[in-house]
């Protein structure tokens, strides 16, 4: 059988990959994709802890479903913002979104 720590290590690696993408990518859509990776890593943790710690109560599953819902809403609104900004500024690069600077 698979130890719990392996799932946690996988989730940690996926989360760190997503973190790197969020920090280092220039394209806003790429940043959103990296955020989705991080949310997936969190979900792996939730489901693994549910299976190994409290398989009798569906708390971890319920949280994972809520994370899924919030991720869907976040993707919809985030991509709408990207398209709106692309219309007004002709760019989806995060550094060029400086309307609020200074």
């Amino acid at each position: 059988m698979i130890p719990l720590s392996w799932y946690l290590l996988l989730a940690a690696a996926l989360f760190s990959l997503g973190l790197y993408g969020v920090v280092a990518r220039r394209n806003t859509i790429a940043i959103l994709m990296a955020v989705e990776l991080m949310l997936n890593a969190v979900n792996i943790n939730l489901v693994a802890f549910w299976r190994y710690m409290t398989p009798d109560r569906p708390v971890g599953l319920a949280w994972a479903v809520f994370v899924l819902t919030v991720a869907a809403a976040e993707a919809a609104v985030g991509l709408a913002l990207v398209i709106s900004i692309y219309r007004s500024r002709d760019s989806v690069v995060a550094e060029e979104m400086d309307l609020l600077k200074n």
Partner: protein
Amino acid sequence: MDPTIDQIIFLIVSILTLGAGFVVVTNRNLLYSALAMMASFLGVAAIYVLLDAGFLAAAQLLVYIGAISILVIFAIMMTRRLMQSTETSFNAQWGMGIFTALVVFGLFVAVIGNFWPLAPAAGQPLASGTAVPDGMLQDSIAALGRAFVSVDAFVIPFELASVMLLAAMVGAILVAWPKAEDEV
């Protein structure tokens, strides 16, 4: 200790998931990134199956691969002109980003290894899946459904989630709607 068949499957799926994730954050072509993201989501769904959470695996397929990936690909296509730019796809902080990600990962590994041995011997706590009576995992979907609508569990977050989805839908339409002066 010879790896069991479960562990071999887990390792293969993990390598696929992390490799696809690596392509997502490094590939210059955003469309390849999006396709690799779908592969990564598929790997996560396989991990859910290994964890006996079949319902979540199906939800993952529907919501992430079916809906979110398609939204992302739409957005990439609508901003396509920028997708093939030859300029670098990383900003000036990429070195610091690698450093930060590695530090965070090291911190995670230290904390995880502190609580649960990374290569546990058989018989140590949580070295393998908690044994549960037959039927409990099948019942977990029904229990999840009851928890979503029972007053002493998740009914308020559940209703709030539906309101949030409605607000997100209306908000997304409103934000992405073309402004009047654009329509010439």
